[in-house]
């Protein structure tokens, strides 16, 4: 019987298989950041162990890093200690590190792909659930806990329990103005935050094949929000073109050998998935969340749902609690929800294409009075590219703040946070209670919706902007 893409990559990494035991898998790439690694290095030190493969390990600083005054000492002493701990650990164990201020610094899931380290058919792990991002290249990539970080540092392997496979086939074509973010939010709303549990998702079908690498990363990034172990997309010409010439992409004969291998990484025609979901892309429109988990979303044109309409008791209770926390009432049109803050960034939507699409909407327009808009590139490289294209000027001219790269307001571990009761439209991936700051309220949106919302001050899509005065011709 044929195998799925995920099964092929898994099989190619089995170091040891024994009856009744989890497979021991080899890990090709281990990404580290400051938050989930200190206790792992401590464990190594206590046991007198080394990092087995420093040549397959790389670290960067992202979660705690400030986005302003990065040349000054970090004000929060606890954040500073955590970054210093990473620097000390990397120096002691010989791990390559891109610290704050370095040109390769940035959100760990933006850095791996842009260096060409994330490649088809590899296994990628990181002590971070959004490691699923790397699956966009046809890699098997999953988030791990700190004990597993220590395990990979010490052995370059992980014992892994088997997974199930789910095909998410997206037919048709995304309508104009509907993005990968809208698609993944709609998928999660459909299958639920627990719907992917135990599964590796494979996104496939004509609408997926048309997507750029950036858009594919947006999709795979949020697989974890459906509860999945990982998300994958089969590598194709788009993938190879993205990788060719990057710092760590194979060269010469190695490139040819790699591409020949990568081309085998497709689900066989006779392979059987454990579950299948079909989505019609052409029926989608801009999608936003109204609740406190990423599955609580609806088309922007809809209204806040009535909790009483849920048949399942725990879903009903979750919706009631969400509305209470979000300060919303049933039946309120989503378009009428006003925001204080707009955040464009994160490993979901902090890449160059995302900044371009937000800038295209903002060009010649102004951020509404009383709204603060933060633009935080996913990495320093993205930032430099945006500056080279003049996007930073478009943002600042519109009244948005152009910041230094990092996770920033995605989770508010640095000073970029919502105040209690404040409401944001955010291109990040989690709308959990307090995620962007204690008491903060988050609506997940695409970069385009974020930009239109910033201009109008309420949740909106670019199509709503037609009647707003434009000073210079918009680049949309």
């Amino acid at each position: 019987m044929g195998r799925t893409l995920a099964e092929k990559v898994w099989d190619d990494h089995v170091v040891r298989r024994a009856e009744g035991e989890p497979d021991l898998l080899f890990i090709d790439l281990h990404l580290l950041h400051e938050v989930t690694s200190p206790q792992a290095f401590d464990g190594l030190r206590k046991a007198g162990r080394q990092v087995r493969r420093t040549d397959l390990t790389i670290a960067t600083e992202d979660h705690n890093t400030p986005t302003l005054d990065i040349d000054k000492p970090i004000a929060d002493p606890v954040s500073r200690t955590q970054l210093e701990t990473l620097r000390k650990n990397c120096a002691e164990f010989g791990v390559r590190l891109h610290p704050l201020g370095d040109v390769e610094q940035g959100v760990v899931h933006v850095v791996g792909p842009q260096l060409g380290l994330t490649q088809p058919g590899t296994t990628v792990v990181c002590g971070d659930s959004h490691t699923s991002t790397h699956g966009a290249f046809g890699a098997l990539a999953f988030g791990i806990g700190t004990s597993q970080v220590e395990h990979v540092l010490a052995t370059q392997t992980l014992p892994m329990a088997p997974f199930k496979t789910m095909a998410i086939t997206v037919d048709g074509e995304l309508p104009e103005g509907v993005t990968a973010k809208d698609l993944i939010l709609a998928i999660i709303a459909r299958i639920g935050t627990g719907g992917g549990q135990g599964y590796v998702l494979e996104y496939r079908g004509p609408a997926i094949e048309k997507l750029s690498m950036e858009a594919r990363m947006t999709i795979c990034n949020m697989s974890i929000e459906a509860g999945a172990r990982a998300g994958m997309i089969a590598p194709d010409r788009t993938t190879f073109d993205y990788l060719q010439g990057r710092d760590h992409a194979p060269r010469g004969e190695d490139w040819d050998a790699a591409v020949a291998y990568w081309k085998t990484l497709r689900t066989d025609d006779d392979a059987v998935f454990d579950a299948e979901v079909h989505i019609d892309a052409s029926a989608l429109s801009p999608f936003v969340t109204w609740g406190t988990n990423p599955g609580q979303g609806a088309p922007l044109s809809a209204s806040v749902p009535d909790p009483a309409s849920y048949e399942d008791a725990s879903e009903r209770m979750a919706a009631e609690k969400a509305l209470e926390y979000m300060g919303l009432s049933a039946g309120q049109p989503l378009r009428e929800i006003t925001v204080d803050t707009v955040f464009v960034g994160s490993c979901t939507n902090g890449r160059i294409e995302d900044l371009r699409s937000a800038a295209a909407v903002l060009e010649g327009r102004q951020v509404a009075d009383g709204v603060r808009m933060l633009i935080v590139p996913g990495s320093v490289r993205v930032s430099l590219e945006a500056v080279a294209e003049g996007l930073d000027k478009v943002f600042t001219a519109a009244g948005a703040e152009w910041r230094h790269a990092g996770c920033s307001m995605c989770l508010g571990m640095n000073p970029d946070q919502l105040a209690p009761g404040e409401r944001s439209a955010s291109t990040s991936n989690r709308n959990f209670e307090g995620r962007q700051g204690k008491g903060g309220r988050t609506h997940l949106v695409s970069p385009q919706v974020a930009a239109a919302t910033a201009v109008l001050g309420h949740l909106a899509s670019p199509a709503d902007l037609s009647d707003v005065a434009v000073a210079t011709p918009a680049g949309v």
């Binding site: 989930t36 955590q82 999953f142 700190t146 004990s147 988990n293 959990f432």
Partner: protein, 197 residues
Amino acid sequence: MEAFTTHTGRAVPLRRSNVDTDQIIPAHWLKKVTRDGFEDGLFEAWRKDPAFVLNQEAYNGATVLVAGPDFGTGSSREHAVWALQNYGFKAVISSRFADIFRGNSLKNGLLTVVLPQETVEALQKLAEADPTAEVTVDLVARQVRAEGITADFELDENARWRLLEGLDDISLTLREESSIVTYEANRPSFKPRTLEV
């Protein structure tokens, strides 16, 4: 890792579904570089509410958390497991756990038990009606017992054995050194390396 065989203790009913790890331990606690001292951060936002179940004196010292479905979703932070353990929990019961959280818990000796939602609710009702009621989580017999409730649960044999013995995964894997060396020797040269180019 501390071994887990069987544990008897009082239970706390947590009637919420989809409790994500940001709720279990908020991000600002993640700046710590140790594995202990997270108990005050556990459910920090909810603990401000005097009516929150952990603030009710009757549940002081309870060691079994009986939670709603989809417990531990979201972030991979192992700090969520440490916070529950630092606070004193030995076991968590739910009808569904997020995968990464479950993996993390079992690696740290916090037993996560999956039971049908009706049984979870029966346990919650019991703990609400009588906060002194004891619940036994028996990994040897793979069974949860409380007054009027006996429920078998599943856990894969390998994970169970490691918990019962308190075995450390890394030492177990290091016994496979020769398989790792063989794999490494056959790995294609086009695979990426992180060394500076």
